[in-house]
């Protein structure tokens, strides 16, 4: 009877520890997933801001050239915004892929941490040697390490991605402006601009 009671007590203690760790893990998991989502959402917002900024910069550049009449400028501005919005959408979908990849990796990491926890409980139950507190601390440390590793990975990924987007925008902006502006200019405006060029030469008495 006494042995039965001891075994029951051990089983109860193990179950309690397992539940404690399970719920602690669950809360940690939720927290980590939430943080991951926040980081990706921040990155998405940042990328979108960058593109908006690029659109506005492009428009200012076009305006600064003082090359166009108001109507043509409006057409070019609209086309520029559309072109850059396409880049924004491209980057957002890339970030979404990053987010889902991260969620998957986090889920896998959590599953492996849970596996580790289970293994420790089994060892605890079997050996009855390690103290509950010690095991809890060890598990917490394991989970924390995994969490930190994932967090660092995501932060570095976000940093790299943002840099990539910024570099790409800076690198491609002149070409984007040129392509978009060239296509957006109506033929009549093109023809008028040629005459303006001839007019400039004529005024400078070079012709």
């Amino acid at each position: 009877m006494a042995i039965f009671l001891i075994l029951l007590l051990i089983a109860l203690v193990a179950a309690a520890v397992w539940l404690l760790i399970f719920f602690a893990n669950q809360t940690q998991n939720d927290k980590r997933l939430q943080e991951a989502e926040n980081t990706v959402s921040q990155a998405r917002q940042q990328a979108s801001q960058m593109v908006d900024q690029a659109a506005s910069q492009s428009h200012t550049i076009i305006k600064e050239t003082q090359f166009f009449t108001g109507k043509a400028e409006d057409i070019i501005r609209k086309t520029l915004e559309e072109g850059l919005a396409r880049i924004a959408a491209e980057n957002t979908s890339r970030l979404d892929r990053v987010a889902s990849h991260y969620e998957e990796t986090t889920q896998q990491a959590l599953a492996s941490a849970e596996q580790a926890a289970k293994a420790h409980i089994q060892s605890f139950t079997a050996a009855l040697q390690a103290s509950t507190k010690e095991t809890e601390l060890h598990l917490e440390e394991l989970v924390q390490q995994e969490y930190q590793k994932n967090k660092e990975e995501l932060q570095s990924f976000k940093k790299t991605k943002m840099k990539e987007i910024e570099e790409r925008l800076n690198r491609e902006m002149p070409a984007i402006i040129k392509t978009i502006a060239g296509k957006a200019i109506p033929l009549s405006e093109h023809e008028q601009l040629v005459k303006s060029a001839l007019s400039n030469i004529k005024e400078s008495e070079l012709l």
Binding site: P174, E191, V194, A197, L198
Partner: protein
């Protein structure tokens, strides 16, 4: 003697070179056939060119049946065509015939001396024109303005 009246509709380098070839052919044919000088001109020149040429002869009281005189005028006209300064006009779109005419009209309206325009198309200039005249390049393209604006940032 001025030949401007015989140069109408000759605005591009291609048109000038084709016109010069027809003038040269007419000049060479003058003594090779039994036809009259006017018949030779009619055979070698385009109808409008022939019409302008015969009006020109009438206007300057030149004997149209004198092959020697016609030959001299043709040779001078040929030399005149070849010495017309060339202007290269690089634009961002393919020019239509109407646009080329429009540019020629614009130039003559603005008292520009006769020019042979060599159109070139380069979409990379985005808009405006890059003009090459008398060995100098004048870049009035949007591309160069954009590059300058981007460099200032």
């Amino acid at each position: 003697m001025t030949y401007e009246g015989l140069m109408e509709e000759v605005m591009t380098t291609h048109e000038a070179s084709e016109y010069a070839k027809r003038i040269q052919a007419a000049a060479q044919s003058l003594y090779q056939t039994d036809e009259s000088p006017l018949e030779t001109l009619a055979r070698n020149l385009a109808p409008q060119e022939y019409h302008r040429f015969s009006s020109y002869l009438q206007h300057h009281s030149i004997n149209a049946s004198d092959p020697k005189e016609i030959h001299r005028i043709l040779q001078e006209l040929h030399a005149h065509i070849l010495q017309i300064p060339k202007m290269s006009l690089t634009i961002a779109f393919p020019p239509t015939q109407a646009f080329a005419r429009d540019i020629a009209d614009w130039l003559s309206m603005h008292d520009t001396p006769p020019l042979q325009i060599a159109f070139a198309v380069d979409p990379d200039i985005v808009a405006g024109a890059v003009i090459n005249f008398k060995g100098k390049t004048h870049d009035h393209s949007l591309a160069s303005k954009l590059e300058a604006a981007l460099k200032q940032r």
